[in-house]
Amino acid sequence: MRRALAFAWLRLRREPGRMLLGVIGVTAIGALLFDMLLLSNGLLVSFRERLDRSGFDVRVIASESAVIAGPPIDHVSAKLTELGREPSIAAVQRVRVASADVADHPSTRHLAVAGVDLGAPVPWTLLEGAPPNAQASPAPLVINRNFARTFHLTVGSPVVLNGRCGDASRPLPLDATVAGVAEFQNDAADALTAATSSQAVAALCGERGDLADMLLVQSNPAAGGPDAAAAAIRAAFPALHALTNEQIVERFSRVEFSYFRQLSSVLTTVTLFFGLLLITVLLTVSVNQQLGEIAALRALGLSRARVMAGVLCESALFIGLGGIAAVPIGGLLSRWLDAILRSMPGIPADARFFVFTLHALEVHAALLVIGAVLAAVYPMRLVATLPIAATLRREVVS
């Protein structure tokens, strides 16, 4: 096999232009194939990483939806007290989301304001300023960088917010002070996001009820972890839906993210078929041009298996060289494609569509090996069934 490989290499080197063009073609197709493999699981891997990074491992909402879309959870304080007694639960955070405008600014884009329990673990990472104090007056506001940039706010700046909570009348404006600038989980790159105490958000919307859109739970690993915490929540409040990070990822992989997986499967199939066809045509034309040479080699004593192995090695060299080059090129290409997809509105700033995994690399290599073998089948058949004497005679006559 080594001699067949060396022979195939010599034949390819004899036509460097052809080899280079073939390898460039395989590289381009291989890079696309590699990117489709990165895309097939990328969003899910990135989503899982972001969920795990958040520190909360169970999410509780009042509907079956995996996102905030249903009715709010009522009597939250009583529920938090009861959940606090569960040994499998380490901490619980409440989240109420409202919409608001900054007073005296055009309201073309509304802010998303989250009301949370400032004494519990918070779903953001503080970049500037100090952790907000729930007792402070005016209401302490933690804002994202985009909000700070858009409205020229810094730590200590006063802000007046007008709630847009769906009522025909609007409650009184809420006076607030910027306590910090933070990075929020699942924040879109262009989002205007802020957070304050749940009491301040209730005042912003004129709500009297003790409501939350979602509860974020940190489980206690020593008492069974997220599964035990979710089970305890379901047992205590059957009307609520508790989902662990694992269950959310599983649900998103089945429903919300399935489009990119399907798209990547279709494109992987098409790309592979296309690449296979092109390599087959290239090898077939090449073999057809060298039929006389191959017949002469056979006449000199090279076995059928040896010339077939030569064609297989030629295919392997084309695909191997192109496939290896496709990995870094595909990596660069994926950054460009990722930047395009991440410009979609509402995509979290730290979400990635293309994520490198060892599994993707292994599948890429396996598909290329299968491709090299399949692409060589027809040209191998051509050299295997070559009539030696007739071919040599035709060569001499022509």
Binding site: G22, T27, S99
Partner: protein, 277 residues
């Protein structure tokens, strides 16, 4: 919210005889829900706003509807029912019956939509009003997907262009001696280049036309697969004249460039050297 309230339903009991209870309210169910739960028109079902079936109410299925295909929600199962607004409010007993998620307004003069929306926002400061014709996130989402697909198409064209060039070089190389003989009997380089270009153009146009026809033939296959996969009436692939023209406009120049380069590689050699003299 659309014209009627719709929400995820929990179908609890079927074929229930409710002689003593008040007449069940009417409900429309989505085709997907009807098929999944093996329901039938005329059947009485009980609906509740939570999975535990608290305060379930009887409803009679009076019809089935196909949900309006929504590209933003195509991956979600459309397990929906539509009930009259008072019935929805009664089911959702957590919220005041006067609460609505949204109101759709049909204007007499559609041109006035933007003015009407700003008027509503001014008069009712807690509400957000938007014209349905205004550009929204959906437009930019699909514009981004369009750019993504174009980028993939460009990479594919680049890769296939390299292959095409390799093939053209090999094909022209095969005719090396013929080309040299034609040069020796007096045909100019320009004439031979033109011949190669015309040949390349014919191949490129034929290839592009075949590609468009193949895409047109594959269109129902793709659509049926994705419509089956996502149980939706959405159309995923549509080969429009504009897309076909864009495809030809991308492919033909690549074919022409490959022919020109291949022709140049053989014609730059001296004819006598090519025939071995």
């Amino acid at each position: 919210m659309r014209r009627t309230a719709s929400f995820l339903a929990v179908v609890l009991l079927t074929w229930t005889a409710l002689a003593a209870a008040p007449a069940p309210a009417d409900v429309l169910v989505s085709r997907q829900l009807l098929e999944r739960e093996h329901l039938a028109v005329g059947q009485t079902v009980e609906l509740s706003s939570d999975a535990a079936g608290t305060a379930a109410r009887p409803f009679r299925i009076v019809g089935v509807y196909e949900p309006t295909p929504d590209p933003m929600r195509f991956a979600q199962e459309r397990l929906e029912v539509r009930v009259h607004l008072p019935d929805a409010a009664a089911l959702e007993d957590r919220l005041p019956s006067s609460s609505l998620t949204s109101i759709n307004v049909e204007l007499r003069d559609r041109e006035d939509a933007a003015g009407f929306a700003s008027d509503v926002e001014r008069r009712l400061p807690g509400l957000t009003a938007k014209s349905t014709a205004a550009p929204d996130e959906r437009t930019s989402t699909f514009a981004v997907l369009d750019r993504f697909h174009l980028a993939i198409a460009m990479v594919t064209v680049f890769g296939s262009g390299a292959f095409l060039l390799a093939l053209m070089v090999m094909l022209v190389d095969e005719r090396r001696e013929t080309v040299a003989t034609l040069r020796l009997i007096g045909l100019t380089k320009q004439r031979l280049i033109a011949q190669v270009l015309v040949e390349g153009a014919l191949i490129a146009v034929a290839g592009a036309a075949f590609g468009v026809l193949f895409a047109r033939a594959a269109e129902p296959v793709f659509n049926r697969f994705f419509q089956w996969r996502y149980d939706t009436a959405l159309v995923f692939v549509r080969v429009t004249p504009a897309i076909a023209l864009r495809c030809v406009a991308l492919a033909v120049p690549v074919g022409l460039a490959a022919s020109a380069i291949a022709g140049w590689t053989i014609l730059r050699r001296r004819a006598l050297l090519t025939v071995g003299r």
